[in-house]
């Protein structure tokens, strides 16, 4: 490309071609989405089996989500290092903060749930002592709804911002499951949570990975 003067049509064509190239500069590897999809699905299915087969693991299986932060940090660092597309897009920056905010919100929600449980337990005990029956209201039955509500939000935003329909529908799927869990038992809630994690993150992650590999191949061919 030289420093030549352009006709008006050539200028417009050049602008649209360059904007298009810059727009295609960001492709997520999809590995993070796949990781969290599989981790949440495993945790939920194990929880389902605990309830269904009436056994208890010596630890809360959802602690696995804290362990999964370590591979996520390694994946992010590796992706940063391997990024040969030397450009930072607005989408990339915006989505990074959306997902960091989501992570913070999830941990706050766990903290809030624990606080509610601790406040509710003495009330439930008192009710049982007075009436001889366990209270019909169980806060734990509503917990999956809060999580699914949050799962849907960044997924829906990512889907719409990146024009990536599998994630857009994945986000909507989380919200539909969120509503269903209000009327279903905890066992079903766990299965719906597992299904949501697969639909919203794991399968879109697989598609993202495929797109990423395709863009890498195209890049290599161009060079």
């Amino acid at each position: 490309m030289h420093d030549k003067e352009l006709s008006h049509e050539e200028s417009l064509k050049l602008i649209s071609s360059m904007i298009g190239q810059a727009k295609d500069a960001y492709h997520d590897t999809g590995i993070g989405a796949m990781l969290w999809g599989i981790v949440i699905a495993i945790c939920s299915i194990v929880k389902f089996t605990e309830i269904h087969f009436n056994y208890r693991l010596p630890f809360d299986i959802f602690l696995l989500t804290i362990v999964a932060i370590i591979p996520q940090i390694i994946i992010s660092a590796k992706e940063q290092r391997n990024r040969n597309r030397s450009v930072k897009t607005y989408d990339e920056v915006f989505l990074k903060y959306i997902w960091i905010g989501f992570g913070i919100a999830i941990f706050l929600l766990i903290f809030i749930n624990n606080a509610v449980f601790q406040s509710w337990q003495p009330v439930a005990k008192e009710y049982t002592a007075l009436t001889g029956n366990a209270p019909s209201f169980r806060f734990s039955e509503f917990v999956p709804a809060y999580f699914l509500l949050l799962y849907g939000l960044p997924t829906f935003i990512t889907g719409t911002a990146c024009h990536f329909k599998p994630m857009l529908w994945g986000g909507i799927f989380c919200w539909v499951c969120c509503l269903i869990t209000l009327y279903s038992n905890t066992e079903t809630d766990m299965l719906l949570t597992a299904l949501s994690a697969l639909v919203a993150w794991f399968f879109p992650g697989l598609l993202m990975k495929r797109e990423y590999q395709k863009s890498k191949r195209k890049e290599s061919a161009d060079v």
Binding site: M1, D3, E5, L14, M18, A22, A25, K88, Y90
Partner: protein, 97 residues
């Protein structure tokens, strides 16, 4: 009444650079070079012209002991680019004038 086209932007390589930078937060020299298919020397000259006009910011750093040049469009650059596109549109909509 037609507006004059900004002479800084009305050149192939400088316009290509501005069009690449308008859609991203920042880009490395290598990205601009790859996408514009320009030579390093020519690109360097044109980037400096854009910088002198206040349309872009150039930030030189080091990464793993290698020099790294980061370019970012400025507010003034965005305004100039928008004005340029508007002017172009007015020309193409009334080509006989």
């Amino acid at each position: 009444m037609f507006k004059d086209l900004d002479p800084i932007l009305h050149a192939q390589l400088r316009l290509a650079v501005m069009s690449l930078l308008i859609g991203v937060k920042e880009a490395e020299f290598t990205f601009l070079k790859e996408k514009s298919k320009a030579t390093a020397g020519n690109l360097s000259i044109q980037l400096n012209k854009l910088k002198e006009a206040g349309y872009i910011e150039i930030n030189k750093q080091f990464r793993n002991n290698y020099p790294l040049t980061l370019c970012k469009i400025t507010r003034k650059g965005v305004e100039a680019f928008e004005a340029y596109v508007l002017a172009l549109q007015s020309y193409t909509q009334n080509p006989e004038s």
